[in-house]
Symmetry: C2
Subunit: 206 residues, 2 copies
């Protein structure tokens, strides 16, 4: 369906928007029409923020999270607890944990999980740099916060073996159990079994 | 919920995307992550197409549709039938009619419809320029292709009065009736009544 617009520039902008994930041609037209109504300064600001994003964002030398500088804002923040490192798959996971407001330590972004099916081995991930980071000292606890999938479990296991030599290091993983507001009867049996195995002392207020 | 990202540039890009209609914060994050994975050239092309769109798109002097030049591609196309002018509310309507592939005349974009509730009178729309265009000669038919709402009907009526002096001009409007694939029992009574009133001769192949 080769639709003809009266403006090439309009057509190009629609094409560009349509390339983004989850944006169809109809939405693209709607967005471009909106841009046409926005004032020039706002559109320029939008466009330049995209260019600067792609050109200037780099990856933190320490934790491999996205950053504007050699070492990211989280790693260089003196208020964060430097003795705890939370290992995650990707930068979205950092955002998800930050959104809880419950974690004040540092992160380590692996860039994925071990997945032989997809050809991803330990050397494709930031595991060696994690080991070096822990061996350099100052880290008391490593929290494994990977997805609770087969691949996540494999990666957890691999990392635990690599860090086995670090005496005094506490290695923890995220609790598995019922989601908050889950109804028992609809919880899958594996999760329910795990939540029974890992039951904790009941105390008022928890 | 003031979420903190490890990159200011990332945050800015997410903010800018969130300002667009229908794009929430979650979608904005997803889009920005996608841009980070795109190659530099593509992102630059995307950004520059937005800037050029906003700076260089203008409105056609003749039909007021969006255009890259003083007179748009449709108005300057020698293959289009210059004796027929289709009056529409906005540029989306031009696209909708072009998408049918059934119309080969020219357009006239009013920029809205008469709506006293919204404070839009005839002088806020491109009606005077339509009258001048028709009076200049060469136009045999004006098709009123406005929405079938109270405001659309009011605007149709106003335009028909303004063009009443043009002798030999055929003034038509879009047919109202059942949508293709509509089931009779679910069609509203006003539309059904109209489709009965405006019934046409049955012929095989229509």
């Amino acid at each position: 369906m080769d639709q003809h617009y009266s403006s090439e520039l309009f057509e190009q902008a629609v094409d560009e928007f349509s390339k983004l994930p989850g944006i169809g041609r109809r939405s693209a037209v709607r967005l471009v029409l909106h841009l046409l109504r926005m004032d020039v300064g706002s559109v320029d600001r939008f466009a330049s923020s995209l260019t600067r994003l792609r050109h200037d964002v780099c990856y933190c030398r320490v934790c491999h999270n996205i950053s504007d500088t050699d070492v990211c804002q989280l790693c260089s923040n003196p208020l964060r607890d430097r003795s705890t490192v939370c290992v995650v798959e990707n930068i979205q996971d950092v955002m998800a944990i930050e959104a809880t407001g419950q974690y004040h330590g540092l992160y380590h972004v692996l860039g994925g999980v071990i997945s032989p099916m997809d050809g991803i081995g330990p050397n494709d991930l930031q595991i060696q740099s994690l080991v070096e980071r822990v061996e350099a000292g100052g880290v008391n606890e490593v929290i494994l916060a990977l997805s609770s999938t087969m691949e996540g479990d494999t990666t957890n296991f691999y990392i635990s073996r690599r860090l086995a030599g670090c005496t005094g290091l506490r290695l923890t993983m995220l609790a598995r159990g019922l989601s908050v507001n889950d109804e028992l009867q609809y919880t899958d049996e594996v999760t329910l079994g795990r939540s029974l195995q890992n039951r904790v002392e009941f105390s008022v207020g928890v």
